[in-house]
């Protein structure tokens, strides 16, 4: 259970104490509840939640008897000491448990049959286990209209609330959005937002996970299933490169819910999820989900069965020189099979490439000791170099805030303003001049005992000066560790497999390829879309799109094979912290769709070259055997928590350097997780979507004769963007325009070069 903190029984500062007559040990300073739980004694709790910070001792459920101390003590706030004598089951302690539970239930409506928490409710469980069995409270209970919408995604039933303050502490201390508060006093206390408005925050869903009663429940999951109707599958989120560990709830073959795991992965997300990872899955049911293969012919589109679709794909590929383009989120298995087909003679010498940021030139930085997200907790200095972690890798925000709560200093530099800048001292640098900002960080890093440097992959890759500066900084401070804020979901995994970002575009342009397969990749909506469009306009061969959602490419393709989403298929993703983790299916998906790896294997069979593997697991084994970064890795080793991959030879491709100068404007693209195409199509997240805008300094806007809300177009030497509204933000560096990557309709991708997140642009008002 996530309710109790893990206890390291192998630590060297163990103290021994007596618990209910037994002699047990735990590290000094461990809270008694955790030490007891590790020793197999459950002390009931409600308000205690180690992830929320220091205990507050509000619910009084964990009262225990400690010899030599007057009265009863709260075990959640009492650290264990040597020779302490604790009794959790003495008559005095039992009476206190009875008393607190009777009082907690006094005003509780006991409407378990209609409560979504029923069956997985800590209050229910602990009442059965520790409660008095019956109540003497005969007065009428308090009543509220039930439920009310705390937000469009969270239902609040105030009658059920036991005032444990967990949600308030999450909002105030963990997410620090400062929205939730307790209103009124005493028995009339109720949870509300400070302003009375909806609780709109990016991590709001976590309060439904930590609520120990049915007061805060998820609206999309309302009355959908009971704990005995469902199966839970541990999986991993593929919405961003962080790779948060999730649990998928399935009922009748459909995905009904995503939650953090009961046993959180402390090295990654610590059980917290962003709202997109939690509720974004409904796009798998959105209207533009592809559900059957489409063969595009001169007479019109023809929908066929998946078997016929695969056969059609094989016949389109037969005898042709093939190019395979992989998206940034394809799994190791899919990429491994693609590479295998290209080399084992199935698709003779196919060119395999990927979309995404190439950061081979960052290899010297990556060579320094790597950190996991969990290591940020213990850092005394967090350095953020470039990037926009709060928007691009949301869960990083909670980690940095936690480190700050523990007393770490937060510093950094970068061109883009972001939410974490309010936590410390940040210097604004011009694009391409990150090294200038880093000079000011050197002293702090070398003086810190445990500094962690977070650096943005895209920003550094196009700033060679910054790579050199950061490499030098890390080399000069022996304690420093680094952590990449990645750009692509499986960018690290694909790079470790040796899939390059170049080659295919050039091959198509040079007419060296006769057929193209796009696997979860849409070059027409990616950076450099205009260039890709031009290349595909001149391309006469067949294009096969293996995709989950309709997009520009599936409209253009000659054959569309519907694939499964990350919630429906098996696979392995490597997070930005080099952690290989497994996707496990939590839903069946459309009948006429199949996983990408399955489609590729089926095509190989049709081409007369049955590969040596039939399942995702055997494809994984086959793939890892031939790539040094994955040597020795097995699915067992990855388990549920993942494993960090080894080093791999650096990809020598690096993007062009983008350096700002006074005469030019630089566009830097930020993929706001809540502003992308996926969020826009989610019904559950409809109120969380951030609108696409061009953010720039007021002075920049003024120089361009632009007012706020004017629409403007960005023009670079490769193409132009669609018109987007201007938003003035004094925190943005002058001469910089921050644009939304991956927004609906991919507005700015046209102005970017292929695999670049930055471009030199000029601006035109429309």
């Amino acid at each position: 259970m996530a309710d109790y903190a893990p206890v390291d029984l192998a630590a060297d500062n163990l103290v021994t104490f007596e618990l209910n007559g037994r002699t047990v040990s735990a590290p000094a300073g461990t809270m008694l509840v955790d030490a007891a739980y590790a020793a197999g004694v459950e002390i009931p709790i409600f308000c205690y939640e180690p992830r929320l910070g220091p205990p507050i001792g509000a619910c009084r459920m964990c009262l225990v008897e400690i010899e030599g101390m007057r009265g009863l003590q709260t075990a959640c706030s009492t650290p264990v000491t040597e020779d302490m004598v604790v009794r959790t089951n003495s008559p005095m302690a039992k009476d206190a448990q009875d008393g607190v539970l009777e009082m907690l239930l006094a005003q509780h409506p006991l409407d378990c049959p209609v409560c979504d928490k029923g069956g997985e409710c800590p209050l229910q469980d602990r009442t059965f286990k520790f409660g008095p069995g019956k109540s003497r409270f005969i007065e009428p209970k308090r009543h509220f209209p039930k439920p009310i919408e705390l937000s469009s995604r969270i239902a609040l039933d105030r009658e059920r609330c036991i005032s444990c303050f967990r949600c308030v502490r999450f909002s105030q201390d963990v997410a620090q959005d400062g929205q939730l508060t307790m209103q009124e006093r005493g028995a009339r206390s109720e949870i509300t937002t400070f302003t009375g408005d909806a609780y709109e925050a990016r991590f709001s869903g976590n309060i439904t996970d930590i609520c120990p009663v049915g007061a805060l429940t998820s609206i999309p999951y309302r009355f959908v299933a009971r704990p005995w109707d469902i199966t839970n599958t541990p999986s991993v989120c593929g919405s961003c490169p962080v790779g948060c560990n999730t649990e998928l709830t399935t009922r009748d073959g459909e995905l009904k819910r995503i939650t953090g795991r009961d046993t959180p992965n402390v090295a990654v997300e610590e059980g917290w999820l962003c709202d997109k990872g939690r509720w974004g899955y409904d796009i798998a049911m959105s209207p533009n989900r592809l559900s059957a293969p489409v063969v595009r012919e001169a007479v019109g589109d023809r929908t066929v069965s998946i078997e016929d679709g695969v056969a059609a794909a094989a016949s389109l590929l037969t005898g042709r020189r093939v190019g395979i383009l992989l998206g940034g989120a394809v799994t190791l298995e899919e990429a491994g099979i693609a590479l295998d087909l290209a080399t084992n003679g199935t698709l003779d010498n196919a060119v395999v490439a990927r979309l995404g940021v190439a950061s081979g030139n960052c290899a010297p930085v990556r060579a320094a000791t790597g950190a996991q997200l969990g290591d940020i907790d213990a850092a005394d200095l967090v350095v953020i170099v470039g990037g926009d972690p709060a928007a691009q890798q949301p869960i990083v925000e909670l980690r940095v805030r936690k480190a700050r709560r523990f007393g770490a200093r937060v510093i950094g530099c970068g061109a883009r303003p972001h939410a974490l800048e309010s936590l410390g001292d940040f210097t604004r640098t011009a694009p391409g001049h990150l090294a200038d900002g880093m000079m000011g960080l050197a002293d702090a890093i070398s003086n810190a005992a445990r500094p962690v440097v977070l650096w943005d992959e895209a920003d550094l890759a196009s700033d060679p000066g910054a790579i050199a500066a950061l490499t030098a900084l890390l080399a000069a401070s022996p304690h420093a560790t680094q952590l990449m804020l990645g750009a692509d979901v499986n960018g690290v995994g694909l790079s470790a497999l040796g899939v390059s970002t170049t080659g295919l575009f050039e091959a198509i342009a040079a007419d060296e390829v006769d057929a193209v397969i796009c696997v979860h990749a849409d070059p027409l909506e990616a950076a450099g879309s205009i260039a890709w469009q031009a290349v595909f306009d001149g391309f006469r061969g067949p294009v096969i799109a293996i995709a989950t959602y309709a997009s520009a490419m599936t409209e253009r393709a000659d054959l569309v094979l519907p694939a499964l989403t990350m919630w429906e298929q098996e696979g392995t993703l490597v997070s930005m912290t080099h952690r290989a983790q497994r996707l496990r299916p939590g839903a069946a998906g459309p009948a006429q769709a199949a996983a990408g790896w399955e489609l590729l294997i089926a095509i190989a069979h049709h081409l007369g070259h049955p590969p040596a593997y039939r399942t995702a697991a055997s494809a994984f084994t086959h793939t890892v055997a031939s790539h040094p970064a994955f040597f020795g890795m097995t699915t067992d080793l990855i388990g549920t928590d993942g494993v960090v991959i080894g080093a791999w030879p650096a990809d020598d491709v690096s993007p062009a350097a983008i350096v700002a100068d006074p005469d030019h404007l630089v566009l830097v693209a930020t993929r706001d997780t809540f502003g992308d195409d996926m969020t826009a199509r989610s019904h559950a997240l409809r109120t969380a979507v951030s609108a696409p805008v061009l953010r720039m300094h007021p002075a920049t806007a003024q120089a361009l004769w632009l007012n706020e809300h004017d629409h403007a177009v960005l023009i670079s030497d490769v193409g132009s963007s669609s018109a987007l509204p201007v938003l003035c933000d004094a925190r943005v560096a002058e001469g910089l325009i921050v644009g939304p990557l991956g927004a609906p309709g991919s507005p700015i991708e046209g102005a970017l070069s292929r695999n670049q997140h930055q471009a030199i642009v000029r601006v035109e008002r429309t």
Partner: protein, 153 residues
């Protein structure tokens, strides 16, 4: 075996020969059942017409044969089906799996489901053995006669 034993044995035979036969002419004549007999299920409504079942699925949890399926939904102002916040949009019992143990009745917090006396549950197709909520809300058309304790058939 003595002669006495033989007389004893034949005595039973001859006594029984003189009694009326126990065989009933089913289906014209129905076997009467005791009041506590557990037969076909019925779902109940309150007097105001609202269903007692709130779709809590506790019967599903209790069912040892896994023959009940409940899919709940929220009542709205315009569409109020049950008295609680939620109601059972789907309530199905697969009668071919049911073992008539009555646990569902015991588990129900609202007395919404009871096992009644009807035992004539045969269909020509397996699919028809899945009884839907509408069927269960309607009492069985033919009720067997009741039998009191000690009453001979």
């Amino acid at each position: 075996m003595s002669v006495q034993d033989q007389i004893k044995g034949f005595g039973i035979t001859f006594r029984t020969m003189l009694q009326k036969p126990l065989t009933l002419g089913y289906p014209e004549v129905k076997t009467p059942v005791f009041p506590r007999f557990r037969g076909r299920h019925q779902l109940w409504r309150y007097d105001n017409g609202l269903e007692k079942c709130v779709g809590c699925s506790l019967c599903v949890a209790a069912c040892p044969a896994d023959c009940i399926r409940v899919v709940a939904e929220e009542n709205t102002q315009e569409h109020r089906v049950s008295a609680g916040e939620r109601y059972a949009r789907i309530y199905e019992i697969n009668m071919s799996r049911c073992i008539f143990c009555g646990y569902c009745e015991v588990a129900c917090p609202f007395d919404a489901i009871t096992l009644e006396h009807s035992y004539e549950l045969s269909e020509r197709e397996r699919d028809l053995m899945v009884y839907t909520k509408d069927m269960l809300l309607t009492p069985a058309p033919k009720q067997p006669p009741l039998r009191t304790e000690g009453q001979r058939v």
